[in-house]
């Protein structure tokens, strides 16, 4: 598929531009102002977007796409992995989303980080943020444009690294700005959980190579149909492990809520819009494999659906504005994974795109809210109490219980947030309605149980979003700070307006009957446009409205007051405690895996390796044994036997000579006598003989 027409040759620049941007910032960033640094980063990301647009244009003329070889990578024996960029409708869709949303978030981040580094008293870190952000774009591009599973894996782990670096961006604090290991713990957790997923990915790749002799997409898909069912099942399960790690599905979703420790643009870009959807992209990319195994589809769809509802229940019980969105993201990812699992690839990709729009919008607006609260806090600290050193009250700017009535202080943010909320809740005619409905309609036909679970999740989605909006923007301020919150500057709100527009009109991408996106993707994967199902649409819309009404009943009719427990607690009791505490999954994991592994490691390190092997076995057995042996040889053997033999010899000679001495009496005549006797004896002997 060597197609070098039009702009296909430019595709490597989609990675090189962001890399160039980060290298520029690394080298000359020190001399630039914050705006200069931001401009370079934005330009790098925007250039990538332009490249993506050029690719899309080329594809519209040559929809068969192209593969552009840049260099060979690992060639060993019959293994051949290259740095090859793949341009097809699927990869370009992802490129557009990533670089498009990415660029908007870059712009927003200039404003956000300007304030964030000041709240943390570390302005030097501004540059670092944009270096990481550009690195992320580059890695994400490698992920979506790789022509083989292994090149995809480079991006896959690369974005994991960026996620680690950005979650731990404020690595010396916790989320409330106190010195702590908390943020770096969250970062570490994300990386390690992702590595568990990568383990699955690697095994899938190994299996592919030994079964199909290649990890290249085209080569694998060309022969996969001949593979035995168990091979396909295992490959899909291993891929699913990878997906569960990266796209935060059960049982590996636990890192994503903690990932909110990162600055808000990071949460929006990486942990909502792009990186976490990589799993969805991977399943879509692997469509030819998944299509072959109904079991695999069943498993993936079920995992996705369970994640969707499980995370939604937790989202209902959260108080942190970003945590609600984080669990909502997990839930929505569940929707997408369920969709692609069922084979509704277009629906999954459609939801991926619209979700990128409205979830990025929601996160960034939430960031705006948090910064607004921070400004209020700052304002109070400087103007309120002029007592010089007032004891630093720990204030959580992200806690919804501290908010309330913010629509008056932050009107722009409020309206933007409303657009996002409605889109996420899936109300007609916003983007979320179309994409979510397409998934539900497909589920209704393919896997009824998935349909019912997802409908439940959709209901909860509308409910927790309603709860959030009422708590944050309506009622009266529950904290002094909320009353002094300030609106964000235009550099932050402008990108949000673009995202809001996309959230409103994004549904147009794949309207029923037209199916623009489906047709576009059809060039790459074998899919059929779904049918619009009026019954499904009506049910979900009615449920969403009902959920919003319920949340209005609970949170708006009698708005929360300061310190008041959540009204749901009264109604749901223990169940709500579970939701509040994330069903104690983190605690259970800690108890079952982390603590056990730590204990085991300690046991191996201290008891087995050091005390037993190093000290006891080496010192007591080998060393002491050797010393013992030498002592044995030295004392009983050498002193006892060898030495004694010579001693006994000496003693006996001494003893006998002492006796013989008496003969030497010195009398010449007695000597003569003995000589004489001797002569007589000899002569006698001779005579007798």
């Amino acid at each position: 598929m060597e197609n070098t027409q039009l702009f296909f040759n430019f595709v490597p620049w989609i990675v090189f531009f962001p890399v160039l941007g980060l290298l520029l910032n690394l080298t000359i960033g020190k001399k630039l102002s914050e705006n200069g640094i931001g401009a370079i980063a934005v330009l790098a990301s925007a250039s990538a977007f332009v490249v993506a647009v050029l690719q899309a244009y080329s594809l519209s003329i040559h929809p068969e796409g192209a593969s552009i070889l840049v260099a060979e990578w690992i060639h060993v024996g019959d293994l051949a992995i290259d740095w090859t960029f793949r341009v097809d409708t699927l990869s370009v869709t992802m490129m557009l989303v990533v670089s498009g949303v990415g660029t908007l978030i870059h712009i927003y981040a200039i404003g956000y980080m300007h304030e964030d580094v000041r709240f943390h008293n570390d302005e030097g870190r501004f540059k670092r943020f944009f270096v990481f952000l550009n690195l992320f774009i580059a890695m994400m591009m490698v992920l979506v444009s790789g022509d083989s599973y292994m090149m995809l894996f480079v991006g896959w782990e690369g974005v994991g690294l960026c996620s680690f670096l950005l979650i731990g961006f404020w690595y010396d604090f916790d989320t409330l700005g106190r010195p702590s290991f908390a943020n770096s713990n969250a970062a570490k957790k994300a990386f390690i959980t992702n590595r568990i997923g990568d383990f699955g990915f690697l095994l899938a790749a190994f299996m592919m190579f030994w079964q199909f002799k290649s990890t290249n997409f085209d080569n694998v898909f060309a022969v996969v149909a001949n593979a035995e069912p168990w091979v396909i099942l295992w490959i899909t399960i291993f891929i699913l492990v990878g997906v569960a790690g990266k796209s935060a599905q059960i049982p590996l979703y636990i890192w994503l809520p903690d990932a909110m420790a990162g600055p808000t643009p990071v949460s929006a870009l990486i942990h909502a819009a792009t990186m976490v959807t990589a799993g969805v992209y991977l399943v879509t990319r692997s469509a030819p494999i998944f299509m072959l195994s109904h079991d695999a589809q069943y498993i993936v769809a079920t995992v996705g659906a369970l994640t969707a509802i499980f995370a939604a229940t937790i989202a209902v019980g959260q108080y942190d504005i970003k945590k609600v969105l984080a669990y909502s993201t997990i839930s929505q990812l569940g929707f997408m994974v369920a969709a692609v699992g069922m084979g509704a690839f277009a629906a999954g990709m459609f939801h991926l795109i619209t979700h990128a729009f409205f979830k990025a919008l929601l996160f960034l607006s939430a960031g705006s809210v948090i910064l607004g609260m921070e400004r209020g806090h700052h304002h109070l600290a400087h103007h309120g109490h002029h007592g010089g050193k007032h004891d630093e009250e720990v204030f959580d700017p992200g806690d919804m219980r501290n908010m309330g009535g913010l629509r008056k202080q932050m009107p722009v943010t409020f309206w933007l947030y409303m657009v996002g909320t409605v889109a996420l809740a899936g109300l007609f005619p916003f983007a979320g309605f179309w994409s979510k409905d397409e998934i539900l309609a497909d589920a209704f036909l393919e896997f009824p149980h998935v349909y019912w679970i997802l409908t439940g999740a959709a209901f909860l989605t509308a409910f927790y979003m309603g709860r959030q909006v009422w708590m944050v923007f309506f009622g009266k301020p529950r904290h002094e700070v909320a009353a002094h919150a300030e609106e964000s500057p235009l550099i932050m709100t402008a990108p949000l307006m673009v995202l809001a527009a996309l959230s409103v009109f994004g549904g147009a991408l794949n309207l029923p009957g037209v199916h623009t996106l489906t047709v576009w993707l059809e060039h790459t994967i074998d899919i059929h446009p779904g049918e619009f199902n009026m019954q499904v649409a009506l049910i979900s819309t009615a449920l969403a409205l009902f959920a919003i009404f319920l949340s209005w009943l609970l949170y708006m009719r009698k708005p929360l007051t300061t310190g008041q427990p959540d009204p749901l607690k009264r109604i749901l009791g223990f169940a709500f405690t579970g939701m509040e505490n994330k069903w104690f999954v983190d605690e259970a994991y800690k108890f079952v895996f982390i603590d056990r592994y730590t204990d085991l490691a300690k046991f191996f390190a201290q008891t087995v390796d050091w005390d037993f092997w190093h000290e006891w076995f080496h010192n007591s057995v080998i060393a002491a044994g050797f010393v013992g042996l030498t002592k044995f040889l030295a004392n009983p053997i050498d002193l006892g036997i060898v030495d004694n033999i010579s001693k006994i010899l000496a003693r006996s000679i001494q003893y006998s000579s002492e006796n013989f001495r008496k003969v030497q009496n010195g009398f010449v005549r007695s000597y003569a006598l003995s000589v004489m006797l001797g002569v007589v004896a000899i002569i006698g002997y001779l005579l007798i003989k």
Partner: protein, 105 residues
């Protein structure tokens, strides 16, 4: 012709007297003389046997030559021995053998 046995008997008697003298007497001069007596007993026996084997010229010569050797040795012995005795006497003012026990182990 006097039978050979007579010479031999005389030789034995002389030798025994010498031996007894060596063993019994304490005076070193007497012991010395007794040794001479034993040597001369031997000489007598040599000469006797030489005469007895008169037919064999080599035997005659051998026996008689040995006698000369013995006499020479005896002379040398006397020279050394008497010198020793003189020295011992000067040192000890005595030639009593029983007082010379320096070699006692």
């Amino acid at each position: 012709m006097i039978p050979v046995n007579y010479y031999l008997t005389l030789s034995v008697v002389l030798f025994s007297m010498g031996a007894l003298g060596v063993l019994i007497r304490r005076n070193s001069l007497v012991v010395f003389m007794s040794i001479e007596l034993m040597l001369n007993a031997g000489n007598l026996a040599f000469v006797t046997f030489a005469k007895m084997h008169a037919a064999n010229l080599a035997a005659v010569h051998n026996g008689q030559i040995f006698v000369f050797f013995v006499m020479t040795v005896a002379a040398a012995e006397v020279a050394v021995g008497l010198a020793l005795i003189v020295l011992i006497f000067r040192k000890k003012q005595s030639i009593d053998l029983d007082q010379l026990t320096h070699l006692k182990g």
